[in-house]
């Protein structure tokens, strides 16, 4: 059973601020959703191999070179950032 403290933890891990009433609502919603998705336990899948886990995936390689000339997209990319200074994106200090 999913509990309120689980939602608190998941919200923290996911970096999503939510009100108390929303978290309580999610306890209820997730309860019925998890009940439904638990149906998958009924399917016999046998031992799950590493291959079976990843499915139809293959590695894709390309030549190891510079795909773009340095600075060719800097302007557009920096422009999308909410806070910037010159050619840099600005964030709050993480080391004190």
């Amino acid at each position: 059973m999913i509990e309120r403290k689980d939602i608190d933890k998941l919200a923290e891990l996911s970096r999503v601020e939510m009100s108390d009433s929303e978290k309580d609502g999610i306890v209820k919603d997730l309860g019925s959703i998890l009940n439904y998705i638990s149906e998958i336990q009924q399917v016999a899948t046998g031992e799950i191999s590493e291959e079976g886990r990843i499915g139809m995936v293959k590695n894709v390689m390309r030549e190891d070179g510079n795909a773009y000339a340095e600075g060719s997209h800097t302007k557009e990319i920096v422009e999308s950032a909410p806070k910037k200074e010159g050619n840099y994106i600005k964030v709050k200090k993480i080391l004190s």
Partner: protein
């Protein structure tokens, strides 16, 4: 010649442009006017571009120089989750307010080369999470066939734009049915191509192993034209299918097809009786046209939706980690960087997106990872193998597109699980990576209005041609 936006198709418009019955500018003007008029009621478009006529002039120049392709001068609408350089693109989420594309999505690049005219960007459920286009930060879209009903989702704006004659075609994206289900709700054709045949580069990711871009059109022939224009290998998408592999996988052309009906799946509890009656009569019609109908068993298909609601939120919660107030769109500041993230994401994402992020984080968390995520991947493989076996004896598999016709606005917003169940027939194609198409199959009278219904077909990987062939048969009905 007068342009009739209601009866015009891509095929006919192309012919008209080639014969100089009308110019691309005249064609674009006609659709622009209709789009602006109808959009007041439907809100299918969240933005109608102001440079449409300039784009159409470029198309006219291509035509004058004899460089026209099938799609040159065709007015189309694009779902608000595909990047166009310099234009606003937001996935209808507050968290991307003001964001402009830094490059063109591959599908857009291809369409630009072909001289397609982009009318605007269309409404959708926020980050494509929903089946009714009711979670957009731009407000709801209404179904052009009945304004009290939803257009389906998540590509509801794209389907409504075509259904209201506000575009000749549109692009949608389909993760669990988001092209086909709104197609059926609005009475238009929706194609979900084989996974990897259309590049995802420049499509905002929801669940990367399930996402695909595809067309929404008035006719099956038009869906084929748009698909042929956007498909193809793209080195910018690591899951893109090489052209030679696609060529090798092409089906043989046939005069009549064997159509499998997974009876235990289709005739289950909760499917609307009108939907079933319409499905049966469409199948009878196909039989009368010389196709063979075969009852088949796909016992694990009923678990598809449960598998989907593990894998999709797991992948979505991971993909949405990039929206943190640092690089794009909205920033809500707190006392430190952690609070910047949490406040930006808490306010920027809508309720359904927040719910799916939490669900995704849960099924991926240690202690539940094996029971949910790994188990779901294993069941996905079981379902894929079931399909592989089924396609050894049938060319196509038919189901209704949606278990219910378009529902009333607000009817299912309170109960997320009820909303999710509307995807039950469409998600198997995404899990197996096979193509699926929804074709209008008639209407049902509800409160004096004709509400559209759709029939869906699945085919083996790369067998889109078979889907087009059977879709054209349904259109004869």
């Amino acid at each position: 010649m007068k342009i009739d936006v209601h009866t015009l198709t891509i095929e006919k418009a192309h012919e008209g442009l080639m014969k100089k019955d009308f110019s691309a500018v005249e064609l674009a003007t006609a659709f622009l006017e209709e789009a602006k008029l109808k959009n007041k009621d439907t809100n299918a478009y969240v933005e109608i571009y102001d440079d449409v006529i300039a784009q159409a002039k470029v198309a006219d120049e291509m035509i004058a120089k004899g460089e026209a392709k099938m799609m040159t001068g065709i007015p189309v609408a694009i779902k608000d989750n595909m990047l166009m350089k310099g234009r606003l693109v937001t996935s209808c989420s507050k968290i991307l307010a003001g964001y402009r594309g830094t490059y063109d999505a591959t599908v857009i690049e291809k369409m630009k080369k072909d001289g397609v005219v982009f009318l605007g960007r269309t409404n959708m459920d926020e980050f494509a999470m929903g089946g009714s286009t009711e979670t957009s930060c731009y407000g709801i879209t209404r179904n052009p066939r009945d304004l009290d009903r939803v257009p389906g989702g998540s590509s509801g704006g794209s389907a409504a734009a075509v259904a209201m004659d506000g575009a000749l075609a549109s692009l949608g994206s389909d993760t669990g049915g988001s092209i086909r289900q709104p197609g059926s709700f609005c009475g238009v054709v929706g194609l979900k191509p084989t996974y990897g045949t259309v590049s995802r580069s420049g499509l905002m990711a929801m669940a990367s192993s399930l996402d695909i871009i595809g067309p929404i059109t008035k006719t099956v022939a038009d869906a084929e034209i748009v698909y042929n224009g956007i498909k193809g290998y793209d080195p910018m998408d690591s899951t893109s299918i090489p052209d030679d592999m696609m060529a090798k996988g092409q089906p043989k052309e046939k005069k009549s097809y064997t159509i499998g009906v997974p009876v235990d799946f289709v005739y289950m509890e909760g499917v609307d009786p009108d939907v079933l009656a319409n499905f049966k009569s469409t199948i009878e019609f196909l039989k009368s046209q010389g196709h063979t109908i075969k009852e088949i068993k796909l016992p694990n298909l009923k678990y598809s939706l449960a598998v989907y609601y593990v894998l999709m939120p797991a992948e979505a919660s991971t993909n949405l980690a990039r929206f943190d107030g640092v690089r794009f769109g909205l920033l809500k500041e707190g006392k430190d960087l952690f609070e910047d993230y949490a406040k930006t994401r808490g306010e920027g994402f809508g309720k359904e997106v927040r719910r799916r992020i939490i669900l995704g984080a849960y099924v991926l968390s240690s202690g539940y990872y094996d029971a949910y995520y790994n188990k779901a991947v294993a069941v996905r493989n079981v379902i894929s193998n079931d399909f592989k076996k089924a396609f050894e004896e049938v060319d196509l598999i038919a189901t209704p597109t949606s278990p219910i016709p378009a529902f009333k606005i607000g009817e299912k917003t309170a109960d997320p699980l009820q909303m999710y169940l509307a995807d039950i027939f469409t998600v198997p194609a995404n899990l197996a990576g096979i193509p699926g198409i929804s074709v209008p199959s008639g209407t049902v009278k509800k409160e004096g209005k004709d509400i559209p219904l759709g029939i869906q077909f699945f085919a083996s990987h790369f067998h889109e041609k078979t889907l087009f062939a059977i879709g054209k048969e349904v259109e004869k009905q």
